[in-house]
Subunit: 203 residues, 2 copies
């Protein structure tokens, strides 16, 4: 018998790890980025995030969801302390290193994973040299999501670095040319293959 | 000469349409979902969203970004009025119809695009029959993002429908088996191909 109807009670009764994987799969494919920060003494931190989301184009704003502050969250702490962070696209050739940043290191994840911290034009937070698209942001707002004690962290784009040849004439960026990957659930990485691009829809 | 450094001023000086495409590309690949609602008289609405994001697994919460309320936003208005909505995964075989829901129709997008409204188990909002993963949510919170007058709309999962055979033993959902697509920028649809799945990372 195929059971394909889940109620709220069914979800609550799932084992924790199963539910975490299951619910994390439901939103669909996710963006794959590394967020780079440093604390006030310059100690760097790097962490994989699949929740980076477009907030607005003018002003240019990106956001991400930060989990509860109950355990140490170096990314959030560093952003609160220094006001700057970077978002760096994950490409297929370093997914293993990118994923490994999710381990709880006592040292910098740059040092632990072999990814390279890069400083450009005096921007405070470290970029990931291996990334194709590198975005420097200043903290614009932190919004509490009281429902589950998470936060929406929003940054304003201050600067960005990417190869000119992946920018199409109309401004779209060819993410496949950048070898950018996408994440499903918490741990699965995928390449993409373009199917179609549609014009602005009219009735 | 390859220019690969963009400042805040460069972004502000871009032409509007170019900037919209460009900034919408920066976060990486996005989730591809249709949000179904109905108004108080039962008139249905369906709209493509690429901003659905995981908020938490326990309680099971999903969110999405709603643009400013200055022009009619039927999705947001219906959710405010009725407190219910559905999130339906977009599969490769109906991307053209899904994208077409972004046109400004005076009639229901179900009627206009030929996608099928489906009601299940008395849930108020319409599901998309053609979708493989269908999620019914109740409004849990609407959070103002004052920076650009957008809103983070958060729903609690009340019920969901998906084929049992795409759920892996550990709870991960095989989105490729569901033919789920991903979106880049505002208008480009992609299939995916799994590269790797990694274990829980430890130092």
């Amino acid at each position: 018998m195929i059971k394909n109807n889940y109620t709220q009670g069914d979800i609550e009764n799932m084992k924790t790890r199963f539910r975490t994987n299951f619910i994390n799969s439901l939103s669909g494919f996710k963006s794959a980025n590394l967020i780079g920060t440093a604390n006030e003494t310059g100690l760097t931190n790097l962490a994989v995030f699949s929740s980076v989301v477009h907030i607005g184009a003018n002003p240019a704003l990106l956001g991400f969801i930060s989990r509860p502050h109950s355990t140490p969250r170096h990314t959030l702490e560093n952003i609160l302390a220094t006001k700057y962070f970077t978002i760096n696209s994950i490409a297929a050739d370093f997914i293993a290193q990118a994923h490994q940043t999710s381990a709880r290191y006592q040292i910098s994840e740059f040092e632990a994973t072999g990814l390279t911290a890069e400083y450009r034009d005096g921007f405070f937070a470290p970029f990931v040299q291996e990334a194709v698209i590198k975005i420097g942001l200043s903290l614009a707002d932190i919004i509490d999501i009281s429902l589950n004690d998470t936060k929406l962290v929003i940054g304003k784009i201050e600067c960005l670095y990417l190869p000119e040849n992946i920018i199409l004439a109309d401004g779209n960026i060819d993410l496949e040319a950048a070898e950018t990957v996408t994440i499903s659930s918490l741990d699965t990485y995928h390449r993409t293959q373009k199917i179609a691009r549609f014009p602005y829809a009219k009735p």
